[in-house]
């Protein structure tokens, strides 16, 4: 959260949306990151005139040149503005009479995006490049002008394979069960990526089909399962633990067939291979984005997702592992759990009477996303309503305990807390294990990066109070919500991208926690909802040296 932020209130057809945003953004930029988008057919240059909104209240910049060209005096006097030109200078209210048709695609928040590696004047291929971060739950895209080193737009949408199950194994098992299923899973994501790309081209470039031919380079990162499903290779191998320490082949066998299927006739298209079984190239991309090999020894990176991945740099070796700690942090399995979408409780703060919920979009709560869950459980602990064992001091009954008595979806049950405990124990025990392998104590950690969308709204103090993160001083924590995409952009654009990737992979040592004898001990220890103690990383690791 930035220190100052404004609230933009948008009315449309009796519905109201409230979005908080940092100063300096245009109304279009603000709304592009929500499900309620303005119409658009240019990259926000003011050329298409499609993005009309009516200003109702609040300070704003005076009309820009483009608005004098696209709007007549009557329209301007009636408060009409082009959303891509109007920038609120405080809390404001606008009316959106003709929104864009609903779409599953939204832009990534501008604050999350990294700068990118810069122009590449020598680039001679077709001008556009596409970076894709293929996650279990979401797909993220960024379209670039490679030569200029300019990011044209980004998108985030749901991974449609979700209908086959939230976790990767169900999808792998489905794909293994029948070739037709495998084909269906593959087609679903490929279509989704194309759809996201078309959305960018339509709204930010202005032309779709001819532009597909202008795409010269595509790089995809993702977790191993997603890459295997997309490539149609390695699915059965992934279901066999014996194969996990080996790299996984997931390059498509025939690139020409691929280019045709993707409708990208001139693209050099590559999936960045995962490191091992369940350590995907999304983690490798994170490591590039934070420039891990140049970081001080004792830098720990967490990528919290459906499957969480971790890496610890000790100055010589990059210790890497993965844990299935994530689904609870994305709301899966929690009675009133949901992804960080409109209606999700993303934060909970103490208030005079009970607590105050911070709901995305400002409407009634529909459920908790990960950061809200952390806040809620931390608050219950602080107020003594929940014990370190995860038990409620007084049983709340089958409906659970409502953090806001007026909001049914704010109820948490004992089973929800149990699930959270398992997820946090799996993650914390993995951190402790990596520290042990590197012969380090958590106090030695110079920096902790929390990657993945979970980090964006996470309150680190609350996470620390529950033992989800080690109790480092705030200055050593940083969040990088879109690090995987940023790393993929480096691979797409930077001339030395490949060689940097090879360096990272060369330093990596993967640990399969299922074979770590002391992991289960640490897991049990970390089930308790208490901050990390001093002794947590002692006495382990000698087996790796």
């Amino acid at each position: 959260m930035t220190a100052t932020s404004f609230v933009l209130t948008v009315h449309r057809d009796g519905e109201t949306l409230r979005v908080s945003h940092r100063p300096g953004l245009s109304v279009r930029e603000i709304l592009d990151a929500t499900p309620l988008r303005v119409r658009a057919a240019c990259g926000g240059s003011g050329a298409c005139g499609a993005c009309l909104v009516r200003w109702q209240a609040g300070p704003v910049n005076p009309p820009a040149m483009a608005e004098y060209l696209k709007l007549d005096a009557g329209e301007r006097n009636a408060g009409q503005r082009l959303a891509c030109q109007a920038r609120p200078r405080g809390d404001a209210v606008v009316v959106l009479e003709h929104p864009a048709p609903p779409s599953p695609w939204q832009s990534l928040p501008a604050d999350d995006l990294a700068e990118g590696p810069g122009p590449r004047p020598g680039w001679a291929g077709p001008p556009l490049g596409l970076a894709v971060d293929l996650g279990t739950t979401h797909v993220r895209l960024a379209l670039w002008d490679i030569r200029l080193g300019k990011r044209i737009a980004t998108r985030r949408g749901a991974n449609p394979q979700g209908v086959f199950g939230a976790d990767v194994l169900n999808r792998l098992a489905a794909a293994r069960s029948h070739p037709a299923r495998a084909e269906e899973l593959l087609t679903l994501v490929r279509q989704a990526i194309l759809e996201g790309l078309r959305d960018i081209l339509a709204r930010d470039v202005g032309e779709v089909t001819p532009m597909l031919a202008e795409i010269g380079r595509v790089r995809l990162v993702g977790n191993s399962a997603m890459l295997a499903l997309l490539a149609g290779r390695g699915v059965a191998e992934l279901l066999e633990p014996g194969n996990w320490s080996r790299p996984l082949a997931c390059q498509p066998e025939d690139e020409a067939v691929w280019r045709a299927a993707w409708h990208l006739p001139h693209a050099d298209l590559a999936l960045v291979p995962p490191l091992a079984g369940f350590v995907g190239s999304d983690l490798l991309a994170d490591l590039l984005a934070v420039d891990m090999l140049a970081a001080p020894p004792g830098t720990l990176l967490l990528d919290v997702g459906t499957n969480s991945e971790l890496a610890l740099w000790d100055g010589q070796i990059l210790w890497i592992t993965s844990v299935p700690g994530g689904p609870a942090f994305e709301g899966t399995g929690i009675r009133h759990g949901m992804p960080a979408e409109s209606g999700a409780i993303q934060g909970v703060a103490a208030a005079a009477q009970g607590s105050r919920l911070d709901v995305i979009g400002g409407g009634p709560a529909r459920g908790y996303c990960g950061s809200g869950l952390v806040d809620a459980i931390a608050l219950l602990r602080r107020e003594g309503l929940l014990k370190a064992s995860g038990r409620f001091a007084t049983a709340p009954g089958a409906e659970g305990y409502r953090l806001d008595p007026d909001q049914p979806a704010s109820a948490l049950t004992g089973a929800d807390v149990d699930l959270f405990q398992r997820a946090k124990a799996a993650l914390a025990a993995a951190m402790v294990h990596l520290l042990g392998a590197a012969g380090m104590h958590w106090r030695d950690l110079a920096r902790l990066h929390v990657c993945g969308a979970f980090g964006r709204t996470l309150d680190p103090l609350n996470a620390q109070s529950l033992g989800l993160l080690p109790p480092l001083p705030p200055g050593r924590l940083s969040t990088r919500p879109d690090a995987s995409l940023a790393g993929c952009e480096i691979l797409l654009l930077a001339e030395d991208g490949e060689s940097r990737l090879a360096e990272v992979a060369g330093r990596a040592r993967c640990i399969n926690l299922a074979l770590a004898p002391d992991y289960d001990e640490a897991f049990i220890e970390h089930l308790r909802l208490t901050p990390w103690r001093d002794g947590f990383s002692a006495g382990m690791g000698s087996d790796y040296n």
Binding site: N170, S389, G414, D418, Q421, A514
Partner: protein
């Protein structure tokens, strides 16, 4: 003989277990021994009743959580293990079970809880480890004269897969062992579908480690499974 306040010890121990406070539980056991309680009584009058108490609390209270199961089993097993060498005569054992996780599955924690409870209930249990092939389950059960093969599976595809419980059932049938050896399964997927154990050819299942102890102990004794 110094005064031993058994009800107070039991109460304090149960509370510590219920609150998943292992250090506290051990302190109570040490204090009880110092007061003069004998190791046999620690096991039979404090630890085993505590497991049984947890069992009844769990059935009445669907909210009993994983940390509590772990601690009940873990503390019970550790205390029992510490006390057994101090017994004047070796206690009577009920019989033997073998336990392991299904082929393809490396999750060992569920098995660990179940073993903890079995140990404190005086069932001899042999741990076959993780990723155990069906053949090995059967071979070891025969070699050790075990009455129960307990199979833990934490993932849907290892619970229902052809190399797991289904294959163990097939082998028992082929070798004519079905009357003598029972299959008990458990793990997360069975909790979502209480009928799943039948589909994978098992004789019984249990939703948590503490009740698993009882189900397995009964079958080891030769009692029929109570579905």
């Amino acid at each position: 003989m110094p005064h031993v306040d058994l009800p107070a010890i039991i109460q304090a121990y149960n509370d510590a277990v219920f609150d998943t406070d292992k250090d506290q539980a051990f302190q109570i056991v040490d204090a009880a021994l110092a007061q003069g309680l004998c190791p046999e009584d620690v096991v039979f009058k404090v630890v085993i009743p505590a497991v049984e108490d947890m069992m009844s609390r769990i059935t009445q209270d669907p909210d009993a959580n994983l940390a509590q199961h772990f601690m009940t089993a873990q503390i019970a097993a550790e205390v029992t293990e510490k006390m057994l060498p101090l017994f004047r005569a070796p206690p009577e054992r009920i019989g033997r079970a073998v336990i392991g996780t299904a082929s393809g599955d490396l999750h060992s924690l569920g098995k660990r809880i179940v073993m903890g409870c079995l140990k404190s209930l005086m069932v001899d249990v042999t741990d076959l480890g993780v990723n155990v092939p069906a053949e090995r389950f059967v071979d070891e059960a025969v070699r050790l004269d075990a009455r129960v093969i307990a199979i833990s599976a934490m993932m849907v595809h290892t619970a229902t897969g052809e190399q797991g419980s289904l294959r163990v059932r097939q082998l028992l049938r082929e070798r004519g062992l079905e009357e003598r050896i029972r299959i008990v399964v458990g793990g997360a997927p069975y909790r979502y579908d209480p009928e799943l154990y039948r589909q994978v050819g098992a004789d019984a299942w249990a939703p948590d480690g503490v009740s698993a102890g009882k189900v397995i102990a009964d079958l080891v004794r030769g009692r029929p499974p109570t579905p």
